[in-house]
Symmetry: C2
Subunit: 306 residues, 2 copies
């Protein structure tokens, strides 16, 4: 039975490329493995796949009875509903440790770095296996995407080193140009539905018993979102109505290096508790905040506990 | 603030030596780190520490407000009661993934191998740091102990390779002699209280909502336990009375390669469900069963679910 290599719901480029890369690595270690994803790829991921000749993973949303290798998450809430009926045999991740447990010993590669892709590069090196050219290109884009071209506070020296080494393998002379091209695709909102924009990079969290959704849209200029901001707000109101305490949508300006956060909450005072800023209208500007994982989720977790 | 490197309750040689080794490795990576343990060392561990000039870790049983690196476990039930008030920044383990979660990204080295020591040897290699001679001796003993001198089904080629490499560093010419000396110390029961024998290597598990205790005594000849078997049975009856569904004590004969399991349970039929053997008296012989982690815990988890 092939090991299914799977990332989180609403897969981003890191989840997609990491699944492809780990499946390749496991195959070369002699295991039968196959990359899958919990949903269709984003325009950004489609751009990366196309640029480096990679194929989008098959969509799989039920995993009962399967062997799984998780990439980019260990949170049950971000995995298929029947995750407890699957056997997790491995994990590659760069997030906080979630609530997935196993019945058997497993292999885990988890580092506090900017991107799963950085961990996977180390796995290839550790096992003495060459990174294929196309996968190297995909991984370097995943790292540039997750670290917002090294501007995010999640960026570590290991991420920069991995990108430099992967660029050499992929034959990419100018990673900044590739990164900007990718973020231009990511920034494009024309023609996309409000729903698809909110869920482009959206995750639900359990915070002290409250269901909290946090989405993020990264653009190279916040003004690109002026025309859709009202629509996005109406859309997260709908999402909140599905049994959530709060839904936050981060509109991240990667050049200004900060985020406007749209807020719909049963108790908007959690935003003040989390970030020390007063909430007057529908949103606040959070200067320097670009990372959901490192700057937003931990602050909200503390605020919901207190 | 120093990172405390800590193993599970009732620390075995792997937990003790792994804490010492990881603290050494983290220090050499530029972090402040200190090995600690949740209890006094066993006679076996004392033998290993003495033989290789290592010092027993300080006993620490409360960790609120501390930074922790866990070795040899990720199970909350095997950690201090205030574990949720500590920040887990790293994990080195070779068990199933337990219920510890974190609020921040962390570093995890988890492999499905026979011993944490094997993973730690790879960590030293990965970071290009030399294993100190004394720690190499300790790690090789930890691996020989956990794998029962490579007789346990948990043994992997990686464990054997690590022992060979560590023996060269430690200057140990004959690992079999060191292993037998260690297991002779471990086998000695003269003068030990029944309580200390039951808890020498004991763990509580949550199995489908039931608290289940499983202890293990490894001896080089089961007949060494004839004089204490009744006393051990009386002792696990006491342990069970402390709110447990079942307590099982594995008396493992490392030369015969099997275990006699003493049984006290609200529902002894779980033993038949788990191992397919009829329970007539106070114990059963489980041929070939030497590993609690790989042969006993998974079988009981299935039996308690069904």
């Amino acid at each position: 039975m092939a090991i299914l290599v799977m990332g989180h719901m609403n897969p981003d480029t890191d989840s997609i490329i990491s699944a492809i890369a780990v499946a390749d690595l496991l195959s070369k270690r002699g295991m039968e493995a196959k990359a899958v994803a919990q949903g269709e790829v984003t325009p950004e991921s489609a751009f990366v796949l196309g640029k480096f000749g990679l194929t989008a993973p098959e969509v799989v949303t039920s995993v009962a009875g399967q062997k799984l290798w998780l990439v980019d998450t260990t949170d049950g809430a971000q995995l298929p509903a029947d995750i407890k009926e699957a056997e997790v045999v491995g994990v590659t991740d760069h997030h906080k440790l979630g609530d997935v447990t196993t019945s058997n010993p497993l292999e885990m590669w988890v580092w506090p770095v900017g991107c799963c892709g950085t961990v996977i590069k180390a796995m290839y090196d550790f096992y003495g296996i060459e990174v294929p050219k196309g996968i190297a290109g995909g991984l370097l884009c995943a790292i540039l995407s997750d670290t917002v071209m090294f501007k995010s506070v999640t960026t570590t020296p290991a991420d920069k080193k991995a990108v430099a080494e992967l660029a050499a393998i992929a034959g990419v002379a100018d990673t900044t140009t590739v990164g900007m091209d990718m973020f231009k695709v990511k920034s494009a909102v024309d023609g996309a539905s409000m729903e698809s924009l909110v869920f482009r990079d959206y995750k639900d969290f359990d915070m002290n018993g409250n269901k909290v959704g946090i989405g993020q849209l990264e653009v190279i200029d916040l003004s690109m979102l002026d025309a859709v901001k009202e629509g996005l707000f109406a859309e997260i109101q709908k999402v909140k109505a599905g049994g959530r305490h709060s839904v936050f949508l981060l509109l991240t300006d990667i050049m200004k290096e900060g985020s406007e956060m749209l807020i719909v909450s049963d108790d908007p005072s959690v935003v003040k508790k989390a970030f020390g800023v007063e909430v007057a209208g529908k949103s606040v500007w959070l200067d320097g905040v670009m990372s959901r994982k490192k700057q937003v989720v931990p602050n909200f977790e503390k605020a919901f506990k207190g």
